[in-house]
């Protein structure tokens, strides 16, 4: 540590440039991670707000809630831990407001999802012509009492409440009654819901034509969700590898320049572990400094970022990403360490 600190102090410009590069990479990684988390949350916020453990869908729906239709017979009797939903995509509009692409979710007033809905303003739905909408509508300028039309339906629906974290597949949710869902889908007879949501991990529906999934299985099948996550993971992974290469190259060049000095130190009896420790400590100090600055920049970005940008700043996950970069720094220092260990003190004798 002594040698590492002294070198960083003396070589301010060189160290500063490395820290600057690490900061840029770290900042990019943290912002991408926040964006990935934000988008992932906007895909799944609603599902997690229902505390869902199992989801039953039509067996032929390809694990897609929008494509699923369940009859009363398929639903069967439900406990207080289950609730049915009816899902469909809608375009909501109100006079003087911009159109909003949204997901309509029909609920049964007596079941837990409707009863447990946490409102940030207003009240819960009491009749079929009322809806509770995600706060994204509020951000877009919608107010309590605004009359919505959904798709080309002439019926007007009054916004009676706002609820937070009500997003599914990045679209804001319009919560209403199941009867409204049937109306929007043009269902006259037959299906009564899209899915059964259960808080009970032991819930199983074994009726004909239905299948019960773990929540994560349904989430993975949300349109675009897995591809989007894989893209982000790949980008972050590449950046990690790039940071490893940068650290390794910089340290390698720095170490190669110092090898004649190290050979003298070895001749003087300074153990290899001291020189190896200096190389590793230097790598970790530089990356740690870069990551601290990157974290500060990310925090500033979080403050300045408009609410509409889907970013989430999950400290444990971001800390884990930071720790990942430190591991990369450690790996990056292994290449120059090999050179340090192979320094031959005999080489300094004889000029």
């Amino acid at each position: 540590m002594f040698l590492a600190l002294k070198e960083i102090k003396k070589e301010k410009l060189r160290s500063g440039l490395i820290v600057f590069m690490i900061t840029l990479i770290g900042y990019l990684i943290l912002i991408l991670t926040s964006l990935a988390l934000g988008l992932a949350q906007q895909n799944t916020d609603a599902i997690y707000s229902w505390d869902a453990a199992r989801i039953t869908l039509n067996a032929d729906a390809n694990t897609d809630m929008r494509q699923s239709f369940l009859s009363s017979k398929q639903i069967g009797p439900l406990s207080k831990n289950e609730a049915v939903i009816g899902e469909t995509s809608v375009v909501a509009k109100a006079k003087g407001q911009k159109q909003q692409s949204a997901v309509f979710l029909g609920l049964k007033a007596s079941q837990y999802i409707a009863k447990d809905l946490k409102l940030t303003a207003g009240r819960n739905v009491k009749k079929a012509t009322e809806v509770v909408v995600d706060t994204a509508f509020k951000t877009a300028g919608y107010k309590l009492g605004d009359k919505l039309t959904l798709n080309d339906d002439k019926q007007k629906y009054t916004i009676v409440g706002f609820t937070a974290k009500a997003k599914l597949n990045i679209a804001p949710i319009v919560y209403g009654r199941l009867a409204t869902w049937r109306r929007l889908r043009g269902i006259v007879a037959g299906p009564v819901a899209s899915a059964i949501i259960s808080k009970d991990a032991k819930y199983q529906n074994t009726r004909s034509g239905v299948k019960t999934y773990k929540t994560q299985q349904v989430i993975e099948k949300l349109p675009g969700y897995s591809a989007q996550n894989a893209t982000f993971v790949l980008m972050i992974g590449f950046l990690m590898v790039i940071s490893l290469i940068i650290i390794a190259v910089f340290l390698y060049i720095l170490t190669m320049q110092k090898l004649p000095n190290y050979a003298v130190l070895r001749a003087q009896g300074i153990p290899s572990r001291v020189l190896v420790g200096a190389t590793v400590a230097q790598s970790l100090l530089l990356v740690l400094s870069g990551m601290i600055i990157a974290a500060g920049l990310t925090a500033l970005t979080a403050l300045a970022m408009p609410a509409a940008v889907p970013m989430a700043f999950d400290i444990p996950i971001l800390a884990a990403v930071g720790a990942g970069l430190l591991v990369m720094a450690l790996l990056g220092s292994l290449i120059p360490i090999k050179s340090v260990l192979s320094v031959d003190p005999v080489s300094v004798i004889g000029g």
Partner: protein
Amino acid sequence: MSSFTIKHVDQIFGSGTAQVQALHDVNFEADAGTLSLIMGPSGSGKSTFLTIAGGLLTPTAGTVTLNGISYTERSKKERDALRLDAIGFVLQAYHLLPYLTVADQFRLVDKVKPSGNLSPEALEDVLQTLGIQALTNKYPGELSGGQQQRVAIARALYPDPAIILADEPTAALDSARVAVVGALFKTLATKHNKAVVIVTHDLRLREFADRTYQMEDGRLSEAS
């Protein structure tokens, strides 16, 4: 008994037709308080002698003993510790760490070997003797070649070694400078009671030596 002895040392490099015998039955002694010169032309085996004397290389045959302790059979790690503790190297290329001030060059030794080094008063005395007491906050890049050499000498003395081994310390120096450096090494031997061994081809250092040896084709003999 001499503080430093080399007995019947042979050094062979390579094997078969590529085999080269660099040292032949080399015997050498150096006492504390004396300055010995090992002289000889390039390729005579001086560097190999210094490498073995400094514990950097184990000889093919023979023993090297410092204060009664043979270190030729010690492990690499033990020889590292011995070099740090008991052998001071002054090398032709000083290679002081460029990012350590003069004072930090000594602090590095303290970090690795916390005890047995010169006291602050003794170090101050050495720095004064070498005329570099005002340079402790300077980096090597801010020093002249001569100043760097004196810092390297002080650095070699700092762990309070029993023996100082110097490799061509006057290479590329003019006669006036050689006289200064020669006197300096003589002072190190007498004032600090060290066995000083200088490997050189510089005849101008002979006047400072207590004993002078000649290395010729790997054979060492005391010069008259």
